[in-house]
Symmetry: C2
Subunit: 164 residues, 2 copies
């Protein structure tokens, strides 16, 4: 495999990074960059993923989204187990180039969440004035009615990536 | 000020975190959680911010977005200098509760990027088949036509938060 970092530009000046045409992604001290994953065509935000340089390079060379799984500490081709492959349509980068937005189309049912929902963001905080008062516990409400797939049927005995 | 962490639920089981109604945000080893910031009503993704527990608590109690600035190592009320205050409309949380989506309305010109653009994500990678070939440098194109405001006029001599 090619050395991934070689095709990304060096980060030389703030002006170049913010105002220039060179793709110079910034990986954090763990070697990762955050990727906001959205449905192409103005759809939902599906997930927030992490990529290392190799995952980013593989995403660009194959057109299929690859991530770094922090819980498994492994490269991860999205859909490898579930078939819910994400194809890259557009990749945006932010001002200091330490965050990406990937617009994708999703195979099959179109779901992207390992819990079985369409989006990983299937709950919203119930906002009410008591948040200014200090004592009442904060509650979530579900924004999706039902799971798209049964995670046990899809993932079987694979370990759950959620960590406490 | 109240101790922020006290009003968030403890993370007790994977099932509780993924399937429950308790808001139990996970802060990373640096004490931060990532927040995708979007325009309310299905608009653009504006930025990816970071919050510590205090910033999250202040956001909820005031209704105005607060962040933790990693470059300045300081709590940051968005709009404090620029007037481009972001008001919280909805807050979603993901499956393992280590990422948030804040839907916001933005004061004034509606811009959210310190470089002067509407969104921090004002550039896209030019995707072409050469990404599979390995040699051609990767180029960006601008997706916004012009800056919304002049950052020098707004921020003056304040240090630029972008770090190389």
């Amino acid at each position: 495999m090619r050395v991934a970092a070689s095709r990304f530009a060096a980060r030389e000046t703030v002006e170049q990074v913010e105002e220039g045409f060179a793709f110079a992604p910034k990986f954090d001290t763990a070697g990762l960059i955050s990727v906001i994953v959205m449905e192409a065509g103005g759809g939902d935000v599906l997930m927030l993923g992490q990529m290392n340089a190799q995952a980013l390079e593989l995403t660009l060379s194959t057109g299929e989204m690859h991530y770094w799984s922090r819980s498994r500490q492994a490269l991860w081709r999205k859909g490898q187990t579930s078939g819910l492959v994400q194809r890259l349509v557009e990749l945006r980068v932010d001002d200091d180039q330490d965050a990406l937005i990937a617009s994708v189309t999703v195979a099959g049912s179109g779901a992207s969440c390992h819990v079985g929902y369409h989006s990983c963001f299937y709950r919203a905080l119930v906002l009410d004035p008591s948040h200014g008062e200090g004592e009442r516990p904060m509650r979530l409400r579900f924004t999706e009615d039902a799971k798209i797939f049964d995670p046990v049927a899809v993932y079987g005995d694979l370990p759950n990536p959620t960590q406490l």
